[in-house]
Amino acid sequence: MPALKELEAAYLSSKKDKAFQKELSELQKTYIGRPTPLYFAKRFTEHLGGAKIYLKREDLAHTGAHKINNALGQALLAKRMGKSRVIAETGAGQHGVATATGAALVGLDCEIYMGTEDMKRQALNVFRMRLLGAKVIEVPIGSRTLKDAINEALRDWTTNVRNTHYVMGTVFGPHPFPSMVRDFQSVIGKEAKKQILSAEGRLPDLLIACVGGGSNSIGLFHEFLKDDVNMVGVEAGGHGISSGEHAARFAGGSIGVFQGCKSYLLQDEDGNVLGTHSVSAGLDYASVGPEHAYLKDSGRIRYTYATDEEALSAFELLSRTEGIIPALESAHALAEAVKLAPKMPKDSIIIINLSGRGDKDVEHVARIKGVHI
């Protein structure tokens, strides 16, 4: 608790600190490569035959996903707070890689918690983190996936709080994490708004993003919340809701309190947390950021899901029509566009957050298709 108060105070003062903001925006530009392009996906649009589709190319950010926006911000904050060590959890490995990168850049010790199962599925990212100088700590307990890695990281933080900052990877956990991570990610929506106004002279009709913990989606949506723009968040439908093997918290969960916040949660009738499934490790999580829960309940944003099969099909479709291999997470957002775009008029505009690139998933997809590489 004192750690959360300390973090909140440091974060609020950093927001007002011009030197900190200047360093952050300079690194966003020269290190991450921001602004990332807003790309008109002409052949993907033509293939679907309806709304014009733009892709916000977070896959082109350094390390290959939006995760770096937050990890870099928090690494700078950790240094400002005088911490010598950062820790983080990771599922697919993207946030772990981003945190290891931020730590290397700023000069901090870095340890990443990762479930045994995820380490097996994402061996490449484990090696990347080690190359970046981070220590990867295996979590062999519980379901051996992301939620257990978060438990371990929180335990580490409560033990080593005096010299350690916990770089939470998504808009979850206790305050101030959900709002702080959202603020670091909101650069996505701020850029997209400027870019679409310059390309089309008007705001889009619809925004689509995938929702795991919910950081890339809130990063795109936040800037447009007060505008007349529709939004859809896409969760992981796994093998379908009735199968019980999914990570669709809104479709299949109920309100619970987990890992420091109150939100929709996949749980049994006794309040124990259920296992989840998704083809994409980044969406494979039992709960969802509390701000999304609020935006769902208030009716501002519609939430739906795409199944593994739909996501895989969109993964291949974008690769073929645009020469862009998307992350399997982002493919869930693309799958929703495949359903909606054909029904929308040709002069309507959709922006999809292409939250990450798919290189990390290529082996996994090959395995699913039964191809040996």
Partner: protein, 263 residues
Amino acid sequence: MASSRITKTFKALKKQGRKAFIPYIMAGDPSIEKTKELVLLLEDCGADIIELGVPFTDPLADGPQIQRAAERALANGVRLRHVIALVKDLRKSTSVPLILMTYYNPVFKYGEEAFMKDASEAGVDGIIVPDLPPDEAGVLRRLSKKHGIDTIFLLAPTSTPERIETVVKASRGFIYYVSITGITGARLHLGSSLKESISRIRSLTDKPVAVGFGVKMPEEARAVSGIADGVIVGSEIVKRINSEPQDFSKLKEYLLSLRDAIR
């Protein structure tokens, strides 16, 4: 309001110049029947108050010993409602004060009002909810008062003066001082800082202070009992139960050695 069974226990011990021995076990590990047997064994071995862990899938404040015990109990099908039923059953044979240590979500899902009512009727004396800080616990505190259940909150070495004040006010029964920063079962460092922390709390309240997290061996228990009003031992007991889940004779020796050390 009549004083609770926990408060009475501490008062009686104080009169005798003794300190409380507060063991913790995980309900349902190795089975709910064995837990019943273990509670009676703990009482026989001189436990003054007993903490029953409620199994939860994501026990954030606990170390690996207790998490694994929770996994075993969950695999045995043991849930919060079964632990409440166990207490009800135990009340036929013992009046030792019983505290449930549970994470918040199972209580939230059960319904806070229903939980307090059922727990109180079953004979639960107190609750510890390690992931619910007192400033978020308004409803639970009100309901627990109404149903005569003590709410015990945690303090850590990193707690600020404001936090100490809040916890001291919100706690009933006793105050749980976590001797280390971190999780249950980690290593204890006994030093002057523990003494200082306890006296800082004592300067604010007459409520008893018990120390837990990290107490394993009789010599540590003895040292802690020289400072605090009660000594909580959890992970080490849970570990010993699991290493010999059918035969508690060695466990009994260990418990008696703890009891002897806590004076």
